[in-house]
Structure formats: structure tokens, C-alpha cells
């Protein structure tokens, strides 16, 4: 299997319960990550309004690629490699890479000690349209490095993105149009039932490292 297609099997291989690993190998670990720092309002970008229109159009153009449902998400979901077919998804992926590259979790150097920035690429990206009653089960995107979500159309009343493994209770981020959220792929996340009458239109994606 090529690397390009390997992560395309993600949805089918993630355990339905959201558990990643066999229990006998599992150890609980506390990890820290500052989620609010990587929530970016892209509405100030010159192209955002036009981009949102294109993204929505392209999602509808592609349609539901998981009508038989083999995904954590119960809503309309496009194919995984939208960035290869639609310029709008490629553009958004570049923005997600730029944000993630600015928030590297570790510094990498060359053998001579000079800085060797970690460059990223879009491994996969897809679009989703939630209507009333739709949810996404808890899951992670590891072994990708970074994951992102982008809100094409949503409001504070829509179902939030929930990180359920935060100590002392879950952490929720309510959507806002043009909001980009970048987070490490190992963080468990879900979307509870969408209860609004209007559509919650989202893009998700995974970023991986361009290794030297």
C-alpha cells in the first residue's frame, strides 16, 4: 500500500468505540496541550469569504462518499483526498500547514546545530455537512502528526468540537464561520449530536511531516 493511500484506511480501521489500542498494551498518560492557542479566526484573510463559498460548492459537488457509513461521522462526508481534486481544499490545507508549522511541539536541528524546521503536507482532507441529529464518535487521527478542522458554516449554537479526555471534564469549542482549529492528532475528539435546524459545514484534515 502506498503512503498516500494508507491513511485513507483510517476510518475503516479505527475501532468503533474510539479506542485506539489493545487494552493489554494500554497505559494511561497525562499530556499537556494548549488548544486555545491554535484556534485561528481566518475571517480576516482577504480570500476567506470566496474560499468558504468554493469549499461549500465543492463539498456538494463531491457528495456523500460514505453513504454506506464506514466512518466515525454519521453525516454527509466527502472522499478523503479532496485536496487532490479541488483547489479550495488545497488552499485551506496550505493555511493549516502554515499554522501547524508555526506551532511545532519540538525544535529540530541539523547535525551542525542549525535550525531544521519541520515542514508539513496535507495527507488527507475531507468535507462534512451535519444536519439535525448527526454526530461523530470519539476518535483520534494518530499516527498523523497534526489534525485540523475548519468551519465553512456554523454558529455558536451548533454542536461543538469536544475533547473528552481533558482532566476534570471535557473541553468544548463551539464553531464560528472561518474558524480553523489545529491540534495534535493523538488527541481524542468527538462531535455530539447537532441539534440546530441549519447545516454545520466543516472541513477536516490530517497533516504529516515531509521527511528529509
Amino acid at each position: 500500500m502506498s503512503n498516500n493511500s494508507a491513511l485513507s484506511n483510517l476510518a475503516s480501521s479505527i475501532k468503533p468505540s474510539g479506542a485506539m489500542f489493545h487494552e493489554e498494551f494500554t497505559t494511561k498518560q497525562a499530556m499537556h496541550y494548549n488548544i486555545p492557542r491554535m484556534v485561528v479566526d481566518m475571517s480576516a484573510m482577504d480570500e476567506t469569504k470566496e474560499l468558504n463559498k468554493e469549499l461549500e460548492f465543492d463539498i456538494r459537488d463531491c457528495g456523500d462518499n460514505f453513504a454506506g457509513r464506514n466512518s466515525s461521522a454519521s453525516c454527509l462526508m466527502t472522499k478523503w483526498d479532496m485536496h487532490k481534486h479541488y483547489e479550495s481544499f488545497a488552499k485551506l490545507g496550505k493555511a493549516a500547514c502554515a499554522v501547524a508549522e508555526s506551532g511545532a511541539l519540538a525544535v529540530r536541528t541539523h547535525a551542525d546545530g542549525t535550525n531544521n524546521p519541520i515542514k508539513l503536507y496535507v495527507q488527507e482532507t475531507w468535507g462534512l455537512i451535519y444536519t439535525k441529529g448527526h454526530t461523530t464518535k470519539a476518535h483520534t487521527h494518530w499516527p498523523s502528526v497534526w489534525s485540523y478542522t475548519y468551519c465553512v458554516n456554523g454558529e455558536q449554537c451548533c454542536a461543538p468540537l469536544v475533547f473528552p479526555s481533558v482532566e476534570g471534564g471535557s473541553y468544548e469549542i463551539f464553531p464560528a464561520t472561518s474558524q480553523l482549529i489545529v491540534f495534535p492528532s493523538w488527541i481524542n475528539h468527538l462531535v455530539p449530536e447537532h441539534t440546530c435546524e441549519h447545516e454545520r459545514i466543516m472541513i477536516s484534515g490530517n497533516l504529516d511531516v515531509i521527511w528529509d
Binding site: 489500542f21 498494551f25 498518560q29 488548544i35 494518530w142 481533558v166 482532566e167
Partner: protein, 191 residues
């Protein structure tokens, strides 16, 4: 605002995982500990190579012990063989099938009072340590965020996700703790 300004707006700070505002996530992760099943002659070859190279890194990395070059698999196929075994274990324990390769692989010899600073191997997918020669009183590998210590047993290999922090406390014993470590990543793709 363009892409550069967008990235800059994130307010570059290295404390994404250590900032006071950061959330504490309690999640499960795998640590796999298995017999590597290499024979004695193979282990002796590894030890000979590691001892022969000496302390190339001069204690300047996180490893405060004698340490070889980072990319030993490029010079010595024995290191690639250890990496291949680790990849085999990683593939069995990854959430889905993923083509992986050995990125780097090095040897180290811990003597009395040697140690390793707490660190992780992000953004590598998996990291591993192979215990070639270890005594019963040798220092464990410790995962401080999980309050977990694994004591080394000669011939065993331990693999864990690259983002998991770990360290080795002071080696208190006079015996030499000899290991091979490395990182595993998805196969490179060309652009």
C-alpha cells in the same frame, strides 16, 4: 492577511505543551515490550560496533552517556535489522496499516552516573529501545507523565509512540547498560 500573517497570528511560542493555560489530557497509549529474538552472536556484533565507535556525541544530546552517530543503520546492517524488528512490532500495533521505515538508529552505553534528560521524539510515529546488555540493577526507562517505569531486560525491545515523554535516571550500577534506540516514521513520499 496572507498565509504568513496567518501563521504569525498564532503567536509563536514553544510552550504549547507546557504553557499554564494548556489542558491536561488523560489518554491511553501503547507500550509494547517483547523479546526481540536476536541471537547472542548478533548482540555481540552490535556491542562491538557501539564500543568501537565510542562517544561520538560527546554527551551533547539528551543522552548523557556514550552515544554513537544518529544514523548507524546506514553504516551497519545490524542496526537496520533491529529497526526492522521494531517496525514489525509497530505495524502490529498501529491503529491501521501504515508503511513505515527506520528514520534514525543509534547505540548508547550507560555507565555509572550516566542518564538521559526527559524528552520525546515528536513528530516521529514510533520510537523504540532494544536492550542488548543490561543488569538487574540497571536504570529503567521512565515515562514521567504516566508514572511508569520499565526495567530493562537483555534481549527485550520496548516501543512507544514518539510523542510520549521519557527519560532514564542516573545509572547507579557499575555494569554497562548497552542499548540501541531509534525512530520510525511513515515512508517518505516525493513531491
Amino acid at each position: 492577511m496572507g498565509l504568513k500573517e496567518l501563521a504569525d497570528s498564532v503567536n509563536r511560542r514553544p510552550e504549547l505543551s507546557r504553557h499554564p493555560d494548556s489542558q491536561r489530557f488523560i489518554q491511553s497509549f501503547p507500550i509494547i515490550k517483547v523479546k526481540a529474538s536476536f541471537d547472542k552472536e548478533f548482540d555481540e556484533e552490535l556491542i562491538f560496533i557501539i564500543q568501537g565507535q565510542g562517544d561520538t556525541q560527546r554527551h551533547k544530546t539528551n543522552v548523557k552517556a556514550d552515544m554513537t552517530d544518529w544514523f548507524m543503520q546506514k553504516q551497519h546492517p545490524q542496526f537496520q535489522m533491529v529497526g526492522d524488528r521494531a517496525i514489525e512490532i509497530a505495524r502490529k500495533n498501529s491503529p491501521h496499516d501504515l508503511e513505515m521505515e527506520l528514520y534514525d538508529c543509534w547505540g548508547a552505553i550507560y555507565k555509572k552516573n550516566d542518564w538521559t534528560k526527559v524528552h520525546d521524539h515528536w513528530p516521529h510515529v514510533w520510537s523504540f529501545v532494544y536492550y542488548i546488555q543490561c543488569g538487574s540493577n540497571d536504570s529503567p526507562i521512565q515515562f514521567p507523565d504516566a508514572d511508569l517505569s520499565i526495567y530493562p531486560i537483555s534481549g527485550e525491545i520496548v516501543i512507544f509512540p514518539g510523542w510520549v515523554r521519557h527519560k532514564v535516571p542516573l545509572q547507579g550500577d557499575d555494569s554497562e547498560r548497552i542499548i540501541v534506540s531509534g525512530n520510525i516514521s511513515p515512508v517518505k513520499i516525493s513531491f
